[in-house]
């Protein structure tokens, strides 16, 4: 069984989606920054949004074909969907949530299926509880089990694990893999986290501004040594334009100034184009944050800035620091607590040269 979709959809004046993807059995990651069109693809495949043009098939079954005038309604597509906010029915128990999609079957058959899936996703002790009476991880498991109990012919997951800590994520992913070893359906998994791409993807499709920028194994697509296409930077939190001031051939580095600021960075040497303007991408998790001027470091880039904001996003703390241009930095909550960060205070950012990815 595999899923093939060609989707064209004009979402707004500024954004149009135009993608063609093929998803074999197993986990394919749909990866890209927010606003790249990932969720739009999922909604179109599920039948919650009608493409302007294109076609969608699962196996030999045509779900949508603009030219053939086929548009199977969402309820008849047999495509499982785990929503970002899970969308568990708050007034129903876990058991009733799991049973919701099994309406055509006898009470006996429904019970049996629900017990079996609840056992394999380790939520059988929660069946009589309401979703609000369970933990975050248990709710993710419930949402996953609710989509899978109907035996869908494809599964769509919209950042379902982003709010969980890493160990819990891994356990749930193991359960999903075990389930799919038996069922072999195409699973399209949306995320903007590099970590999740490597943790669970057999394949990755990178979306950038509404089109497919790259596709292949996570390693091929995302681990580039020094130079990358712009598309491969899609999931980086910090992407900025810079002017090359000097190329140090012997050191293998370049000295750059970020456009519109006085911030200077030492980045790996990019061969080829020789253009004066380059794109620099830095993962938020690769930047160190210090509350005092750091000394005696091997890192070449130490920037002084002011902490603009500090918010929680799932298991991570997200700091925005103004160094003349804004940087997004990820910290663990305990690190943020330990530093006693206050909005407006002076901080220093430490960025290793080889944490900077360069695209010409």
């Amino acid at each position: 069984m595999s899923l093939a979709a060609t989707i064209r959809k004009r979402v707004s004046d500024a954004f149009a989606l135009d993608v063609s993807i093929s998803v074999p059995a197993g986990v394919t990651i749909l990866f890209g920054a927010s606003g790249s069109g990932k969720s739009t693809v999922l909604r179109a495949v599920a039948g919650l949004l009608r493409p302007d043009a294109g076609s969608i098939t699962v196996g030999s079954r045509v779900l949508f074909d603009r030219n053939g005038g086929i548009d199977v309604p969402a309820r008849d597509r047999h495509v499982g969907y785990v929503f970002q906010h899970l969308a568990l029915f708050p007034h129903l128990t876990v058991e009733e949530n799991l049973m919701f999609g099994l309406q055509d079957q006898t009470q006996d058959a429904r019970r049996r299926k629900v017990r079996a899936i609840a056992a394999s996703f380790k939520i059988d002790h929660l069946l009589s509880r309401r979703p609000a009476q369970t933990s975050g991880g248990e709710r993710q498991r419930t949402a996953l089990a609710r989509s899978l109990v109907t035996n869908p012919s494809a599964l769509l997951l919209d950042e379902p694990l982003s709010a969980l800590d890493h160990p819990t994520q891994s356990l749930i992913i193991d359960d999903l893999r075990r389930w799919n070893a038996e069922h072999q359906i195409p699973i399209l998994y949306v995320t903007h986290s590099h970590r999740e791409v490597f943790a669970l993807g057999d394949r990755v499709v990178v979306l950038h501004n509404g089109s497919v920028a790259a596709a292949g194994t996570p390693h091929d697509v995302l681990e580039m040594p020094e130079q990358a296409s712009l598309a491969q930077l899609a999931g980086f939190e910090n992407v900025m334009e810079a002017a090359v001031l000097a190329r140090k051939m012997d050191a293998g580095t370049m000295h750059c100034r970020l456009t519109g600021s006085q911030v200077e960075l030492e980045v790996p040497l990019a061969h080829g184009s020789g253009l004066p303007l380059i794109q620099i991408a830095i993962r938020a998790g690769d930047i160190l944050l210090a509350t005092e001027p750091p000394r005696g470091l091997s890192a070449r880039n130490i920037l002084r800035g002011r902490l603009l904001s500090l918010t929680r996003d799932g298991a991570a703390m997200v700091a925005v620091v103004d160094c003349g241009t804004s940087f997004v930095v990820h910290l663990t909550p305990s690190a943020a607590d330990g530093l006693g960060l206050a909005i407006g205070q002076d901080v220093w950012l430490v960025i290793k040269t080889y944490s900077c990815r360069v695209a010409a």
């Binding site: 599920a46 039948g47 919650l48 309604p73 969402a74 309820r75 008849d76 597509r77 047999h78 495509v79 499982g80 969907y81 929503f83 906010h85 899970l86 969308a87 568990l88 029915f89 708050p90 007034h91 919701f100 999609g101 309406q103 055509d104 309401r130 979703p131 609000a132 709710r139 609710r146 989509s147 109907t150 709010a163």
Partner: protein, 224 residues
């Protein structure tokens, strides 16, 4: 206290609020989820009774059901008597007059629903009807109860429309509020006071129930 009038008012309000429940649920659903551009026109019409003088509304209802109107003539052919100044005419007028009080709280609670739940129901194979009865209605119970209770209370308290359409016939169209008017006209201030006080207490209790219900029993966002 005019107990015949009290019984009449209660009977009227009960019928009106039940009929309104049947009409208001689909209407509120349509108002909330329709993407038709001209929807605002329907919303304006539904809300008209909120701002229209009861006498104006009553006048038009009277004209619409009078013996010269098609509705009035049809009614006369069926039943052998006119529709105006009957209990049935009060029911019709009250349904129109209380319509926004039923529709608005229900539409408001539909609009508060997480649309993700409706999408989730669709991807789980639920028909529109199943989604409506199993997801939308159960999660909107407070708003639906508020709509029924408010239209009940509003019907009990109406005066102008009833007087225009039904007149003041004891046991047929004389409701509690008209009975207060009668008592004052007849200078029976004691009786008027007793009736008014009970209406005041009744209205307060009803509104307290509505506001208590409007506090949502479970938070949808807490389950994300």
């Amino acid at each position: 206290m005019d107990w015949t009038a009290v019984a009449l008012s209660l009977r009227l309000a009960l019928i009106v609020s039940l009929v309104l429940l049947v009409f208001a649920l689909p209407l509120a659903y349509w108002i909330t989820f329709s993407r038709w551009r001209g929807k605002f026109l329907v919303e304006a019409v539904v809300s008209l009774p909120l701002v229209l003088p009861p006498t104006v509304l009553g006048f038009y209802v009277l004209v619409a059901i009078g013996s010269r109107s098609p509705i009035g003539r049809l009614w006369e052919r069926w039943t052998g008597h006119g529709l105006a100044f009957t209990f049935e005419s009060l029911v019709i007028a009250s349904i129109i007059y209380s319509l926004p009080f039923a529709v608005q709280p229900i539409a408001a609670s539909f609009a508060q629903l997480d649309t993700g739940l409706v999408d989730a129901a669709a991807t789980l194979g639920a028909s529109g009807w199943r989604t409506f009865t199993r997801v939308i209605v159960p999660l909107s119970i407070p708003g639906i109860v508020a709509g029924v209770v408010l239209s009940f209370a509003h019907t009990i308290g109406e005066f102008g429309v009833v007087l225009m359409v039904g007149g003041n016939l004891p046991g047929i169209t004389r409701t509690v509020s008209i009975s207060v008017y009668d008592q004052v006209e007849a200078l029976q201030y004691g009786a008027a006071n007793a009736t008014s006080l009970s209406l005041l207490a009744f209205s307060f209790v009803i509104l307290a129930i509505v506001y208590a219900l409007m506090r949502r029993p479970w938070s949808v966002t807490a389950v994300s």
